[in-house]
């Protein structure tokens, strides 16, 4: 009786065996979920980078035409530099005679071509009266056509380039005087109404200046606040209230900080509008909670045994913090700061409120010059109707992403350097 019972009931090890297979399956499944969870964001990121990259990479090149330019004294004294370009075009296409056609012909070249000539002449005044072959930028529509973004097969009325213009372009192509060249202007000039003349340098400088102000303000303030709250402040209701408020500040929508900047910095303290100084101050307000929270976490992660060792040696509280706790917490604090700065770099809403959304052609040279920032430049370009601005928008995003990667790299390097102190 007992024998048959024993046989029908599986032994303990058999039960465990049966359970093990199930357990292994569950483990394998769980791992797969994890891999899938990682793969999804990575593929999104890859798709985003590929799409933006393929769109934006065109902006790093610009269509140039080689023209034979005569630095005619008459035009130069009239300060009509574009006139020189027009004269050269008339020479290249002598059979264009109608007034309307001539106007179209002039539009082949960018309105910035004249500025290029002016710059050339400024460097070398001996050019007066001489004739040179010069590569000059073409207009944005021709640029788009050359980059294949305008379909020649469309009916004439549906495309931005007319049949006549196509003939002229084909003539230039046949003579091999039209070419895509590296677009240095994109990296060296400020914003412009003309896509082929617009550059990222102004917004880039604006971002750098704002971030510099932001860092100078928020890093020392944030670290000092964190050190005081974590190491020195008594644990009472007041510090608790402050703590809760700091945590809440981290979740306040950034445009609120912009409103605060508008009300306090601009209207009350009368600081200049659209200035990186004010932009940096507003961004610092926004970054502070992030830095404080990360710094406090870093301080809390320092093992208590190190503090005890220092106190046991007779170190004062300040000595303990400065000699032992702060160096050990610094890598964590820097990580928090970089996260905060990266957020600030990508932030546009608070800057809108303090006037950094203006169309600014000049590259800002100091903290009070009117400026804009990279994300706002992206927004402005994305909003522009010209076809060529869409590739510039993508290119500006690439610059912004590159900037972010650079910041993070610097953070990693700095952190590693600090960590080498064991």
């Amino acid at each position: 009786m007992t024998d048959t019972l024993n046989k029908s009931v599986p032994s303990k090890s058999q039960r465990i065996q049966a359970g093990l297979a199930k357990r292994y399956r569950a483990e394998k499944r769980f791992r797969l979920y994890g891999i899938a969870a990682i793969a999804a964001p990575i593929s999104f990121l890859a798709i985003m980078l590929v799409v933006i990259g393929s769109r934006g990479v065109g902006a790093f090149q610009q269509t140039y035409a080689q023209l034979s330019i005569t630095f005619d004294e008459q035009y130069i004294t009239d300060n009509d530099w574009q006139g020189i370009v027009k004269a050269s075009l008339r020479e290249t296409f002598p059979d264009v005679s109608a007034r309307r056609d001539k106007k179209k012909l002039y539009k082949l070249m960018s309105s910035g071509a004249g500025f290029d000539l002016q710059a050339m002449y400024k460097i070398d005044p001996t050019l007066l009266g001489q004739t040179r072959t010069v590569w000059l930028p073409m207009s944005d529509d021709i640029d788009m056509l050359m980059k294949g973004k305008i379909d020649r097969a469309l009916a004439e009325g549906d495309r931005r380039v007319s049949d006549k213009e196509l003939v002229w372009i084909d003539h230039l192509i046949a003579n091999d005087v039209i070419d895509l060249q590296f677009n240095t202007r994109f990296f060296t000039s400020g914003d412009s109404r003309e896509p082929e003349l617009a550059g990222i340098a102004g917004a880039f400088m604006g971002s750098i200046l704002s971030l510099a102000v932001c860092f100078i303000l928020s890093f020392p303030l944030g670290v000092m606040t964190a050190v005081y709250l974590e190491e020195f402040a008594p644990k009472n209701t007041w510090t608790y209230i402050i703590e809760v408020n700091i945590n809440n500040l981290a979740a306040v929508p950034s445009i609120v900080f912009g409103l605060l900047g508008l009300a306090i910095f601009l209207n009350f303290f009368m600081l200049p509008r659209s200035a990186p100084l004010v932009g940096g101050m507003v961004l610092a307000l926004m970054t502070l909670p992030t830095i404080i929270i990360a710094s406090r976490a870093a301080l809390r992660a320092v093992p208590p045994s190190i503090r005890e060792a220092a106190y046991g040696m007779g170190a004062s509280q300040v000595q303990t913090v400065l000699h032992h706790v702060l160096p050990l917490a610094m890598p964590g604090m820097l990580t928090g700061t970089i996260i905060g700065m990266a957020q600030a770099l990508g932030e546009s809403a608070p800057l809108l409120m303090i006037g950094m959304v203006a169309f600014i052609v000049d590259i800002p040279g100091n903290f009070t010059d009117p400026a804009t920032a990279l994300p706002i430049q992206i927004y402005l370009w994305a909003d522009s109707p010209e076809r060529a601005f869409s590739e510039r928008t993508a290119a500006a995003i690439l610059v912004l992403v590159g900037f972010l990667i650079m910041m993070n790299l610097i953070a990693v390097i700095v952190r590693k350097k600090f960590e080498r102190r064991w």
Binding site: K235, P303, I306, E308, Y311, G314
Partner: protein, 273 residues
């Protein structure tokens, strides 16, 4: 059972007349310690003789570490900790008005349960105390202090050619001796040791015990230990704590061979604890 423990007591545990006649280095009178509402120590009266090793023994949570940490005011940084009563060092109240904790801790050094060298070089670890207290006149004097302290801690031969290496890279036993070297570099009068060997293997433990035995010529040592054999081996005086009370104190030999209190008897023979 008692006899076997007696035979383990080494000759160092014998107390000669001279040390007996020496005055009390540290004295606690009517000490009560509270953590918030909870009373951790109840009316402790304990005198500690100079140039001897005093072992504080007792089961976990009995308050021996708390008492030890009162002696250099390490409890000051613990929130909600309150110390009542009188603790004197050379007759001076260490909780008195004019007493500076920094100065007190330069006189009463401490070695912790887990070796906790600073994440700095071996040299900087030992030099830290002299540096913050401004004890060394110049670099040469500091070098001498560091080397001398490492020598006294019995570590010098192992680290002589790598003083710039991180202190955290040493083995556990070496780290603990480094911590002892760090503590003695400021020439304290009393060294508190909180279970200094509990994280170490028997060989490292033996080295530390040997070192403690040497150090008692120059320092007054108070150590907390969980190992009764260790207390018997290295200490001359023993105090037995139980549930926040000081149950019995006296010569180590007496505590282990003829304890007066039943609880002491039970603890040293391994029946409670």
């Amino acid at each position: 059972m008692e006899i076997s423990i007696h035979t383990e007591v080494p000759t160092t545990a014998r107390i000669d007349e001279q040390t007996l006649s020496q005055p009390h280095k540290v004295s606690a009178q009517g000490v009560n310690v509270y953590y918030g509402d909870k009373q951790a120590l109840k009316n402790i009266n304990l005198d500690i003789a100079s140039n001897m090793v005093t072992a504080l023994i007792g089961p976990s949570g009995c308050g021996k570490s708390t008492f030890l940490r009162c002696l250099n005011r390490m409890n000051d940084v613990v929130d909600g900790c309150r110390v009542e009563g009188l603790i004197t060092l050379d007759g001076e109240d260490i909780y008195g008005r004019g007493v500076d904790v920094v100065h007190l801790r330069a006189r009463v050094g401490m070695v912790f349960q887990k070796p906790n060298p600073f994440p700095k070089s071996i040299y900087d670890n030992v030099a830290y105390g002299p540096r913050i207290h401004g004890l060394a006149a110049d670099r040469g004097a500091l070098d001498d202090m560091v080397l001398h302290s490492l020598e006294r801690a019995g570590l010098i031969d192992e680290v002589r050619d790598r003083l710039d290496a991180p202190g955290t890279g040493l083995s556990g036993g070496q780290q603990q001796r480094l911590c002892i070297a760090r503590a003695i570099a400021v020439e304290p009068e009393v060294i508190l040791m909180d279970e200094p060997c509990s994280a170490l293997d028997p060989i490292a433990t033996a080295k530390i015990e040997e070192l403690i035995d040497d150090l008692k010529q120059n320092f007054t040592i108070i150590m907390v230990t969980h190992s009764m054999q260790q207390a018997a081996r290295v200490s001359q005086k023993t105090a037995f704590f139980h549930l926040g009370e000081l149950v019995e104190q006296g010569d180590t030999t007496d505590i282990f061979t003829k304890p007066e209190d039943e609880r002491t008897q039970a603890y040293v023979t391994g029946r409670i604890g």
